[in-house]
Symmetry: C2
Subunit: 296 residues, 2 copies
């Protein structure tokens, strides 16, 4: 079996620490508790999925770490565009769907691949899917991401932000899933800065998201707010099942369906030709689902 | 531009008549009414989509006819596996999502392709997605399909039924979308029997579905029944967005997103690792989502 770098072990440890820290901090804002599913993968590796459901703050959330290793199968060969024979990957995936339409859905992923041909790379990102035009929240979100990325790699935010705008785009709708964030993939694992970027992104999560949750969790919402949230969650489902590479690849390569699909919202609506009322907050919100500059 | 056969014109007319008849008969079981969307396709052709929403019987339903023609683009070349330069297709698509979990969701599709290289073929089918183990309804459904198919082509039901079991299978779940029905594709358009099969299937729809709706529409249901329906509708979404060739192809080739996605249920749930209660009707229902013999 292939050997792994010390960096692999360090990141794996880091991601598990982050999982503990993040789930503990999120639980402080809810009466519901995360439950844990430990699972093995037949072909090698396994994971620890933590799920919170039906909370007063978080309607459904999943925070999952995994270490997967094994042979590069034919299907993987296509996906990874590689001639390597073995691979190992460790990762953290997180999706939080709050109950209140005033609190945005957030997604974070950090992953690190190593292959037996000495190639290694980092991928990851954080993106936000809000349902109400609290633009100060969106600005805080992008401001914090800019600070986090640029502190590690000068001027990197603008590149990762554009990558995110492009990736989380629902082509058949002509709009993004949310208001973007940062996204990167295939960043050379031998460049120390990329390891630091992955760590910094993970460390930034609570400082980015908790202030938004705390600010909005006691805000009232009505059934129109809820309907808009459910319609947008429908778009979230469309994106994840039609375009998200990780989801499609995971399902088609016999990954653990429950852990892959933990990203889907608990409830979603699909209404024919849905349009927001004129001059409603939702009509305003729609224009924020187009790529735009949030921080200069 | 390519010439079309008289058969094309006859089927087109037939499908439009069926659309009128079916929407009229469904309206008799509801207070809500179908509304109509007439749309054009930039590259050639257009359609007539009829939608019913928020009815007391039908929560969301779409019955759509279309005639599409144009050049065989690169994307189409892959899909149709053809070297033809022009194509035309007429079709009827129908998906009915009742409000009550006691009434099954039904889907029917009939389509006929012609190409300028003289190839032509029929595709189509009807399949049922029930949420409650009323097995007498499932037997009626399969009995009627067997009668319909075998009257036109001797012993054809068994083949089309197996094709349906295979097609509407959610691989990552190891289960079907519903209890199957019949499905066929690429049936030679020059064989008169195939035209008759398409017509017979369309004609059978009301005799197959209305008795089930009428029998179940006044039956009571509770919140457990609803939860199961919403979870299964989630699987319906998973199937349509991940595996259904028509949906994926339509969206990726810039089809009219609203008409393609009219098939999605109005509301759906995605709950982590959902399991039915022991000895509940839902646990019983799960085994019916595996391929099995319904009529001998």
């Amino acid at each position: 079996m292939m050997k792994l770098s010390v960096q692999f072990a360090l990141l794996e440890r880091k991601l598990e620490d982050l999982q503990s820290l993040i789930t503990r901090e999120l639980e402080k804002l809810d009466t519901a508790r995360f439950r844990e599913d430990i699972w093995k993968r037949k072909e090698g590796g396994g994971g620890r999925t933590r799920i919170i459901e039906n909370g007063k703050t978080f309607e459904k959330g999943g925070v999952s770490t995994s270490v997967i290793y094994g042979k590069v199968t034919e299907a993987l060969k296509d996906q990874l565009k590689t001639s390597a024979k073995e691979f190992a990957v460790c990762g953290l995936s997180l999706v939080i769907h709050p109950l209140s339409p005033k609190i945005p859905t957030i997604h974070m992923n950090i992953r690190y691949f190593e292959q037996d041909d000495n190639h290694s790379w980092f991928g990851g990102g954080i993106d936000l899917t809000p349902y109400y035009p609290h633009i100060e929240d969106f600005m805080h979100f992008h401001f914090m991401l800019k600070k986090t990325c640029n502190e590690v790699i000068a001027d990197s935010y603008i590149k990762f932000k554009a990558w995110c705008d492009e990736y989380f785009f629902i082509k058949h709708r002509g709009e993004m899933r949310g208001i973007g964030g940062v996204f990167f993939d295939y960043l050379d694992g031998h460049d120390r800065k990329h390891f630091q970027l992955a760590e910094a992104l993970g460390d930034s999560f609570l400082d980015i998201y908790l202030p938004i949750v705390k600010l909005r969790m006691d805000e009232e919402w009505n059934k129109e707010d809820k309907e808009f949230q459910l319609v947008r969650r429908g778009r979230y489902v469309e994106f994840n099942l039609i375009y998200d590479r990780g989801t499609i690849f995971g399902l088609k390569s016999d990954g653990r369906a429950e852990s892959i699909l933990m990203s889907l919202p608990p409830h979603a609506s699909f209404l024919y030709d849905w349009k927001p009322a004129k001059n409603s907050p939702y009509e305003k919100m729609l224009k924020y689902y187009q790529p735009q500059e949030w921080v200069k």
